[in-house]
């Protein structure tokens, strides 16, 4: 089954930036409740509060039932300023960057020394994609063939791969990327692919600026296109 990269359409589904603090935070200043409510532009539905992880601001997932399956109509954005880590997750890049900038500005306005003291030890750029294989009818067949699966027992007549997770270690120290593949729901010719671009040693000690965040996300997307996809379809 020969597949070319050009036959694969890459559609990002979500973006996330995760940072693990060098040292656990001892306190998290609460932000103005009105700001928290309006962070994602949906004050009626956004919830905020503290839990054991720290400060969480989240939009609900919007889902409906269709043919006995739960279909997510809208992914809920969320942000966690935790004692051990920070994470921000949105469905598209523009909102990730704008929400991140807005949040950091408010945090700085609230307590600039607190922001200055935030030091990250590890960083992750996590992007979820839909990979649509234009000329492939059954993605499950592609996975089975790609990962050379077969069964030599008379009890079983066939085998299918539903879940593959692998980690590629890069030359840069403690740099690796974890890829998680699953057949996409309701699309027989597409894969759900999550790429966790992990920096075991954060590229910067200070939390990313908006511009740096954009740069590392662009790099991660380029890597998927130029290295991971060719590896996936055996064209390295």
């Amino acid at each position: 089954m020969a597949i070319n990269s050009s036959e694969i359409e890459i559609n990002p589904l979500s973006f996330a930036y995760v940072s693990i603090w060098k040292k656990n935070l001892t306190f998290i200043p609460p932000l103005d409740p009105t700001f928290c409510k309006s962070l994602f532009g949906s004050p009626q539905t956004t919830t905020y509060g503290f839990n054991i992880n720290g400060l969480t601001i989240a939009e609900p997932m919007q889902a409906t039932m269709q043919n006995n399956a739960v279909i997510v109509n809208k992914l809920g954005a969320n942000l966690v300023l935790g004692y051990q880590r920070f994470s921000i997750y949105t469905a598209n890049l523009d909102s990730l960057l704008s929400v991140y900038e807005k949040f950091m500005a408010e945090l700085k306005k609230n307590d600039s020394a607190f922001v200055t003291n935030l030091k990250q030890a590890q960083t992750g750029i996590n992007i979820e994609y839909e990979l649509e294989f234009k000329k492939t009818e059954k993605i499950i067949d592609f996975l089975t063939e790609r990962f050379s699966l077969s069964v030599n027992s008379p009890s079983f007549i066939s085998i299918g791969v539903l879940d593959v997770r692998f980690q590629l270690f890069e030359q840069e120290k403690e740099k690796n990327i974890t890829i998680h593949l699953q057949p996409r729901a309701n699309m027989s010719n597409a894969l759900f692919c999550s790429a966790n671009d992990h920096y075991g040693i954060s590229p910067t000690e200070s939390i990313f600026t908006q511009s740096q965040l954009n740069t590392y996300i662009t790099r991660s997307r380029e890597k998927l296109k130029s290295q991971i996809i060719p590896f996936l379809i055996n064209k390295v």
Binding site: T47, F50, V72, Y89, E128, F147, F156, L162, D163
Partner: protein
């Protein structure tokens, strides 16, 4: 560049109930499943696991499903009960035991794939992805204290001889605990030197005052607070206690 040329020893752990599968068969399945890395799996272990050598620096943990009826596969009505094998590969190199742990909560990625969708069917559709388990008033209470603290810092920062970070840390350590109490009004104010007083009014005419020093005092150590409870302007209780002991007893004290 991605590095894919090291020889690594990989241990495979069994997770599921597939004792009836002969070791050789299992290893063949495993070996073939890693055809991408030219697996050279050798059965070498007991029923607790297998080990193999692979010639790449790649970690893979697939879930395999084997099916016993062809039509079930074609119809997409897969019988996962036939058997399920899950395994992890741990690479014995400098990355061994490394915890790659910066992924955001995976539960938020529902319905993005076949497996996620299947899992969703077992979950409550309305279940929130995030647990905001602290009481609703906690956030507002903490925010009230924080606002009062900031105002005091502007007006009376000369009362502090300890550094701000130190004072903030002690302030939040106390304020976070007190914020779990369901009071109606609250404020915080600096006392003359390196200490802060939290005042909380409750709906039943009770008033709680808690003083916390940012420095060690002769009669009050760093982990202790001084508290007084008033009811209708009469003091009903007063003491010096460890903050944790105080919090354990406060609800009872407030209902007396």
């Amino acid at each position: 560049m991605i590095e894919l040329n090291k020889t690594q020893n990989i241990k495979i752990k069994k997770r599921s109930n597939y004792q009836n599968i002969p070791a050789a068969t299992f290893c063949t399945i495993v070996g073939m499943s890693f055809g991408i890395i030219t697996a050279n799996a050798q059965a070498a272990s007991s029923d607790t696991g297998f080990s193999g050598t692979f010639n790449n620096n790649v970690e893979i943990s697939p879930t395999l499903y084997c099916f016993n009826k062809k039509d079930e596969i074609e119809n997409g009505d897969w019988d996962q009960s036939a058997f399920e094998v899950c395994f992890d590969l741990n690479i014995n190199n400098e990355f061994d035991n490394e915890i790659v742990d910066e992924w955001v909560d995976p539960n938020i990625f529902k319905s993005e794939s076949f497996l996620s969708r299947e899992r969703n069917l077992e979950e409550n559709i309305n279940e929130s992805s995030f647990d905001l388990s602290y009481q609703e008033y906690y956030y507002d209470n903490l925010f009230k204290f924080k606002k009062a603290f900031d105002e005091q810092l502007i007006k009376y920062n000369h009362f502090l001889t300890v550094d701000l970070e130190h004072a903030q840390k002690d302030f939040y350590a106390t304020a976070e605990k007190l914020s779990s109490l369901n009071f109606s009004k609250a404020t915080a104010e600096f006392l003359d030197e390196n200490s802060i007083k939290f005042s909380m009014r409750f709906s039943d005419n009770k008033l709680l005052m808690v003083s916390k020093s940012f420095v060690e005092l002769p009669d009050v150590n760093k982990s202790q607070i001084v508290y007084s409870i008033f009811e209708n302007k009469k003091r009903i209780s007063s003491d010096v206690l460890e903050i944790d002991t105080f919090m354990e007893n406060i609800k009872e004290l407030l209902t007396v």
